[in-house]
């Protein structure tokens, strides 16, 4: 048997496959299709201090091998999460990670402090990279100083595993990664969506109510892979890779480029069982290539 266990900070995952925030609901939406407990972990929807209605419709546009979204962090707020969602998802035995967003540092801190109290939430993913909200969001993730500031603040109150999710909409992602590593992040996840746009020449209008939105899906994979590889060569903390992973091959490519774990996002919409198929596919690949453990394969890219 191959060893699929990986560690992200204090977090132990039974395999490197997680599901990406905003693409897997709270897991419950997928109970009809898969045994969610087979996953390495799930990252639940972006959660903010106050309830948010999100952006106006339309929020979605299809693009070549991808999609744009402008959901805008619709969620019912942290208190609703604690009282209504948390009890429901405690049935899962897989790792539960909450993706946290906010428009200012105080909001982030309040949410994080509340999550710190929840036994079954061993880690948070700090979203400093959402392109779909007016204030906060991506703004935190596109400069080193603000990324440092928020990571430092959260780190000082949050004692469990802290993952910081990086924005690809930057000139130099390694600098941001190094900064959040220096401020005590246990891991980085990358990439969030790329800022994109789509219009209709029939209506002459943008296809999203917000004009621009976040691009995800296979179209972004080459960019995501490159960033994972760059960051792998720049930091020591584990990297969680994502962006366009549609199958086990894609997942293995990210791990080959240095990712300790991966997340499946948009692919869940095309095939709700895909995350489980990816775990199977990774196992098969390692077995047929006689690789004993996923960590042996990690970052083993051959540069001749």
């Amino acid at each position: 048997m191959v060893d699929l266990n990986v560690n992200i900070g204090h977090l132990k995952l039974q395999n490197p496959v997680m599901t990406a925030s905003g693409t897997f609901g709270y897991g419950l939406e997928f109970d009809d299709f898969i045994d969610v407990n087979l996953l390495g972990g799930i990252i639940v929807k972006g959660t903010t201090l106050e309830p948010r209605e999100g952006n106006a419709y339309p929020r979605m546009a299809e693009t070549p091998m991808g999609m744009l979204n402008a959901v805008g962090l619709q969620n019912k707020g942290i208190d609703h999460f604690i009282t209504d969602i948390y009890p429901k998802i405690q049935k899962y035995t897989t790792q539960l990670i909450v993706n946290v967003s906010g428009s200012n540092i105080e909001d982030y801190l309040t949410v994080v402090e509340k999550l710190n109290e929840l036994d079954r939430i061993p880690a948070i993913e700090l979203n400093i990279s959402c392109p779909n909200v007016k204030s906060g969001g991506m703004a935190f993730g596109t400069s080193c100083s603000s990324a440092a500031e928020i990571t430092k603040a959260v780190r000082s109150t949050y004692k469990k595993t802290l993952i910081v999710k990086l924005s690809p909409n930057v000139t130099n992602i390694t600098e941001i990664a190094k900064t959040v590593e220096a401020e005590g992040a246990d891991a980085v996840s990358l990439i969030n969506t790329l800022l994109g746009m789509a219009v209709s020449i029939k209506t002459r209008k943008p296809l999203l109510s917000t004009v621009t939105g976040g691009l995800s899906g296979p179209c972004v994979k080459p960019i995501a892979l490159r960033m994972v590889w760059q960051v792998f060569n720049a930091v020591k903390i584990p990297i969680i890779g994502l962006g366009g992973i549609m199958n086990a091959n894609d997942a293995l490519e990210f791990i080959l480029c240095g990712a300790t774990a991966i997340q499946v996002g948009t692919a869940n919409f095309i095939d709700p069982r895909i995350s489980i198929k990816i775990i199977e596919g990774i196992k098969e690949y390692l077995q047929s290539n006689k690789i004993n453990s996923i960590s042996e394969f990690r970052g083993s890219l051959i540069l001749k």
């Binding site: 693409t23 999100g54 929020r59 979605m60 299809e62 095309i270």
Partner: protein
């Protein structure tokens, strides 16, 4: 809610109904799970470079004896065009049944009305209502007679009426100009689907006559199962997902 499934159906029939409408008859390889009127499927369009996401399509009719369901589809763009090329024995992957469903009444007089490929979910609905002893009246609207398809099948489950803009079938004019709307209060409920503007007009008249009205909304969807929050519509109690809280809404809850 019913359990959702993902399954490769086998295409039994692809029937061209008019210039741009076709009917797909699909066989489930095992026992077809229960499906309610108004539910839809998310259909995977394969071998289509620019069709990345699934396409939401209403379930047009269901046959539990033969384990088949049918889809009534209008060729609109890349995905529906590709589906129109399916041949018998091809596979088609569906996630289904999705969404809520129409509220059924027993032994009441009801009006089903729609236009365009909006009429797709009305067939299964009319059958269900007919089975429940309702007096079913179906009003279909179109630009011209050839736009109206599956007429004979609808006739099995209710009394048919038409409006056409060019007066080629039924009464001339738009849907709400039909004489049925002169005396709406005989109906206990109105069900409508079609272009948004049409549904809004019907809903307004229903509201004026204090008759409950259910609509089936269309919307751009990514997942179809409530996971992405891309498909919201504004309601009086906030944004709701058309794919799980809908596609059927009581118009009194909408911000129309």
């Amino acid at each position: 809610m019913h359990k959702k499934h993902i399954e490769d159906f086998i295409v039994l029939l692809n029937e061209k109904l008019n210039e741009d409408t076709f009917l797909l008859l699909l066989k489930h390889p095992h026992k077809l799970p229960e499906i309610n009127a108004g539910q839809f499927a998310e259909v995977l369009v394969e071998d289509s470079p620019l069709t990345f996401l699934r396409r939401p399509l209403s379930i047009h009719d269901v046959d539990y004896k033969n384990n088949t369901l049918s889809l009534l589809i209008k060729k609109l763009g890349k995905g529906t065009k590709k589906l129109s090329e399916l041949k018998p024995d091809n596979f088609l992957n569906l996630i289904f049944p999705l969404g809520n469903s129409f509220t059924l009444l027993n032994n009441e007089k009801v009006l089903l009305t729609g236009g365009g490929c909006g009429i797709a979910p009305l067939l299964y609905l009319s059958r269900k209502l007919n089975e429940k002893g309702c007096d079913v009246h179906i009003l279909l609207a179109a630009k011209t007679a050839s736009d109206i398809v599956r007429l004979k099948t609808y006739e099995n489950y209710g009394k048919l009426y038409f409006t056409t803009e060019d007066n080629s079938l039924g009464e001339k004019g738009l849907i709400i100009q039909h004489s049925l709307f002169k005396n709406l209060s005989v109906f206990k409920k109105i069900y409508t689907c079609g272009p948004e503007r049409m549904m809004q007009a019907v809903a307004r008249l229903a509201a004026n006559n204090e008759i409950p009205c259910e609509v089936s909304l269309e919307n751009t969807m990514a997942c179809g199962i409530g996971a992405c929050l891309c498909c919201v519509t504004e309601t009086k109690t906030g944004n709701k997902c058309v794919c799980v809280d809908g596609p059927v809404f009581n118009t009194k809850d909408l911000k129309w």
